[in-house]
């Protein structure tokens, strides 16, 4: 089938568009300030929730965890171990500074009974679902 290359059908149009998009993403990565918002995973059990966050290099004094309703907030600051001049860096990839993350959980939780552990740079928060959010087993009576 004959196919004429009109302006709209240019074979490189899509590639050029892709290139433009890649440039935008690339630029935005470099402009991003070195902030340390932690990556978090959420696990759900029948009666409880587990939230784990990768948060290396934070001292407990600089970590603030709070719970309200169905929201877990992790705030803190990642401080460098010693003062270093900018020029002294050969390579700088780690994100430092203040961070704050609010995670919306799938259930409301019992804010009175939250356990949190920080070990090897991983924060683990264990939350119990609120009493009325726990599943109830319903027995079926046979007639």
């Amino acid at each position: 089938m004959a196919y004429r290359w009109g302006f709209v059908d240019h074979p490189w149009r899509e590639l050029r568009q892709l290139q433009r998009e890649m440039n935008t993403i690339f630029e935005s990565v470099f402009e991003r300030p070195l902030e340390a918002a932690p990556a978090c995973n959420v696990y759900a059990g029948d009666t409880d929730l587990l939230v784990t966050c990768e948060l290396p290099g934070v001292t407990l004094d600089d970590l603030d965890i709070s719970v309200m309703g169905d929201t877990l907030t992790v705030k803190g600051e990642r401080k460098p171990a010693e003062e270093v001049q900018r020029e002294a860096y050969h390579r700088r990839e780690r994100r430092m500074g203040a961070f704050s993350r609010s995670i919306q959980l799938p259930n409301r939780v019992d804010a009175e009974n939250v356990e949190a552990q920080y070990e090897d740079g991983v924060l683990t928060v264990h939350l119990n679902k609120a009493a009325d959010e726990k599943p109830r087993k319903i027995t079926v009576k046979s007639a």
Partner: protein, 133 residues
């Protein structure tokens, strides 16, 4: 430069319980210089001290940290922003580093390597004496 990255593939490892290959990650690293040493900081959350290998062989520095997945019991993963996996990164060191005195500490998921400069690499003040004619 005293410390240069080497692009080497990490050794593959199979998770015996799940019989699949464990993911390998390149940890974020800061390298800075002080008067008497080079300091390397690597983010390796989830690595315990007995799972970390820092090896120096023929000027090649290898950092390999193994991470075991956490036990979540019967719970389901409903939101994932990170995967757990091993950390691996390799660097070439120059003779400017005193390789016998490298110091490594692991705290809160951050590995700190102190690489002291060899004596001759430190800047020396050279005293100039004048000769009177």
């Amino acid at each position: 430069m005293s410390i240069v990255e080497r692009n080497e593939a990490a050794p593959t490892r199979t998770d015996t319980e799940l019989t699949r290959q464990v993911r390998q990650f390149v940890p974020d690293v800061d390298i800075y210089e002080t008067d008497d040493s080079l300091v390397l900081l690597a983010d390796i959350p989830g690595v315990k001290a007995d799972q970390l290998t820092v090896r120096l062989e023929k000027n090649v520095l290898t950092i390999h940290g193994r991470v075991d997945p956490i036990d979540v019991g019967e719970r389901n993963l409903i939101h994932a922003e990170y995967e757990t996996g091993d950390y691996y990164r390799v660097f070439s060191l120059s003779d400017e580093i005193d390789q016998d005195r490298i110091d490594a500490t692991l705290k809160n998921g951050v590995l700190t390597l102190r690489l002291p400069k060899a004596a001759r690499a430190k800047a020396r003040q050279i005293k100039v004496s004048t000769e009177s004619s």
